[in-house]
């Protein structure tokens, strides 16, 4: 992105806040990975390492009243919506203080009050649901927008097709994105699809699409802003392909030997935090000392979170039985 464009289009505070969240995401997920290696996490760990700019960028571009249906590597979106590191860690440790009270694990957190839908493992299942939230906004005439995503892998599922198509036919206020990190677990793109870019899929629905540098938080933010504005003003849905790279294994147990070293080396130089720091420096918004300050702050926040999570109680067995049915629709 052209620095002068960014200077004009993004407020200094907004950019710095995004940088904060990039760092908090990184620090939190690194802590989770460390806990995982110590065997202290319950279940699997899927991180957004190297891809943090996507969730941070789009979640920053939304209004508070908008709804996010995050992908499984969108930790930044949760943080921006006010999920504390403590709550997140409690979730990973299966504690009662986690957003799902131990019912579900890892990034499967949702909270209606904070406008975040709970992720469903079955990839792309969340897309028709997100489109339905946008339908509710349209029916009620609200000027709210939904932001929802899947991975390159998820874009091969039928629910992706049905969601994209329905959103386009009804011109619903939703932005659908694909986080294209080159792999679905071990499966490279060429075994998933015969098109050069996932964004080509949007053509099947008459939906405008755009390729965005997913490692550049400013680019993500601006592209998201524009797509959100289209949705909000009734121009219908947009599809965004965020190009990025999965820098860890599929989950933390996977050494990802199937990924060529050179690919990782190449993408390492495009690290979203590095990029953001370069930008901030160029713009004269901050430098070394500033970054150091952020490091200290996020470390403190994460450590406070660890403490909170570890201190938190586990749920009691009989809580299993609670909540299968809603007693009232107001939750």
């Amino acid at each position: 992105m052209d620095v002068s464009v960014i200077a004009k289009e993004i407020k200094r505070d907004d950019l710095l806040q995004m940088y904060d969240y990039l760092r908090l995401t990184r620090a939190l997920e690194e802590r989770i990975t460390a806990l995982y290696r110590q065997g202290r996490i319950v279940g699997g760990v899927y991180t957004s390492h190297g891809m943090e700019a996507i969730a941070v960028g789009y979640a920053s571009a939304l209004e508070r009243d908008d709804v996010i249906s995050p992908f499984h590597r969108d930790m930044g979106a949760f943080l921006i919506r006010g999920f504390t590191p403590g709550e997140v860690l409690a979730q990973y440790l299966g504690k009662r203080t986690g957003p799902t009270k131990g019912k579900d694990g890892n990034v499967h957190m949702g909270d209606l009050k904070r406008g975040v839908f709970g992720f469903v493992s079955h990839l792309a299942d969340n897309l028709p649901v997100a489109v339905g939230a946008a339908l509710a906004f349209r029916i009620r005439g609200e000027s709210r927008v939904v932001f929802a995503g899947t991975g390159d892998g998820g874009s091969s599922r039928g629910d992706f097709h049905e969601a994209m198509n329905f959103a386009a036919v009804r011109r619903l206020p939703v932005v659908l994105f694909c986080n294209n990190n080159q792999y679905a677990y071990s499966t490279p793109l060429h075994l998933q699809m015969a098109i050069p870019n996932v964004v080509d899929r949007a053509k099947a629905y008459g939906m405008p699409g755009e390729i965005v540098d997913g490692n550049d938080v400013a680019a993500v933010y601006l592209a998201a802003k524009q797509a959100i504005a289209r949705a909000r003003t009734g121009e219908g849905p947009t599809f965004l392909e965020f190009k990025t790279m999965r820098m860890h294994g599929h989950s933390e147990h996977d050494p990802a030997k199937y990924v060529p070293r050179e690919l990782l080396d190449e993408w390492k130089t495009k690290d979203p935090i590095l990029k953001a720091e370069q930008l901030i420096t160029q713009l004269g918004y901050g430098e070394e000392a500033y970054f150091q300050g952020v490091t200290e702050r996020v470390t403190r926040e994460v450590e406070a979170g660890v403490e909170f999570a570890e201190r938190s109680p586990l749920p009691e067995g009989p809580e299993v039985l609670e909540g299968v049915f809603a007693m009232s629709a107001e939750s």
């Binding site: 019912k103 499967h108 339905g132």
Partner: protein, 331 residues
């Protein structure tokens, strides 16, 4: 509940469903409809005839041919506070939305506390020469999926009252309406607003010798058989489950404790059907009250065949009930 003011003209089962939808849409503007051909065409069975004109295209949505997509969208709209009622053109096509129903809608409240007040209308059942794909009884699959409520009325009164209750319920409810009954049965209905609460079975005929527990179109078979058997001195009690999930164990058990003999009758395939569960409950909870084997009458484990003599062989018949009751009475 049944202090009924029979002042309306006789309405068919089908009209009762229409009325319930119409009244609930008028009563609550959050209620809206989605499905294939329900708008301009008024639905494959004409249940929503005139609704598009009355409520407009954002409350009566003709959808693309995408069961998974529009059930998912209904889920999202429900989470955001609307009250979608989705129509399957035939219950058989619910298999296409199976994943969205069982994995997303059914588990949503349990996982992260967001209620899904959605109704899926599923015209089901045979006797209409529909063959393997237009005659299915899919309730058995969903009976085994925690988080769903299931309803299957046998009369216009129950059809109307249960649909209204389903729409007002904060959970995903699958409403199985029997195609064979649509235009075959009629009755007068109360003029004032009424519901039939979910979870309550109804003794459609009190009797002392044998309990026959059933639902849907089979209720009429049971009542017919009861008439014949009465002349032979065999007094059948006909329990209409009405709600399949949650089961009204109280009514079932008290009937069985009175009669000590049980026939379970349904149109869904025998193996793994709802009759199996009731037999298991009785074997566990009413073992001492049983005075004879618990007998199931249900179609064999095959798809629903097309040709008339095959379908006649396949479906339970009044004569089956009579023969079984005689044997059981003599046990």
């Amino acid at each position: 509940m049944k202090t009924v003011d029979h002042t309306t003209e006789e309405v068919s089962y089908l009209e009762a469903i229409s009325q319930a939808l119409d009244e609930e849409m008028t009563r609550d503007e959050r209620v809206f409809l989605m499905g294939e051909d329900i708008g301009t065409y008024g639905g494959a069975f004409k249940i929503t005839e005139g609704f598009l004109q009355k409520y407009g295209e954002w409350r009566v949505l003709d959808t693309p041919l995408s069961e998974s997509g529009f059930v998912g969208a209904a889920t999202g709209a429900a989470i955001m506070g609307l009250r979608p009622v989705v129509e399957m053109q035939f219950a058989d096509f619910i298999s296409c939305a199976f994943d969205q129903i069982t994995e997303v809608a059914a588990k949503n409240h349990y996982r992260w506390g967001a209620a899904v007040p959605m109704v899926i209308r599923a015209p089901f059942g045979g006797g209409v020469h529909g063959g393997p794909f237009h005659s299915e009884c899919p309730e058995g699959w969903f009976f085994h999926s925690p988080g769903l409520k299931l309803v299957a009325p046998s009369t216009p009164y129950d059809a109307k009252g249960l649909l209204k209750a389903a729409i007002r319920d904060p959970n995903p409810v699958i409403y199985f309406e029997h195609k064979f009954l649509y235009r075959r049965i009629k009755s007068a209905l109360p003029q004032q607003d009424f519901i039939v609460p979910l979870g309550k079975a109804d003794v459609k005929r009190a009797g002392s010798d044998i309990s026959i527990i059933t639902y849907g179109a089979m209720v009429h078979l049971a009542l017919e058989a009861a008439q014949t058997l009465a002349q032979e001195g065999i007094d059948l009690e006909v329990v209409d489950l009405r709600t399949l999930m949650p089961l009204d164990k109280e009514t079932i058990y008290s009937s069985v404790r009175k009669t000590s003999k049980v026939i379970l009758l349904h149109e869904d395939n025998k193996t793994g059907g709802i009759g199996a569960e009731i037999a298991a409950l009785l074997a566990e909870d009413c073992f001492d009250s049983l005075d004879g084997p618990v007998v199931r009458i249900a179609p064999p484990d095959t798809p629903v065949p097309f040709s008339t003599p095959l379908e006649e062989f396949f479906l339970p018949k009044t004569s089956d009930v009579i023969a079984t009751a005689r044997k059981l009475a003599a046990y």
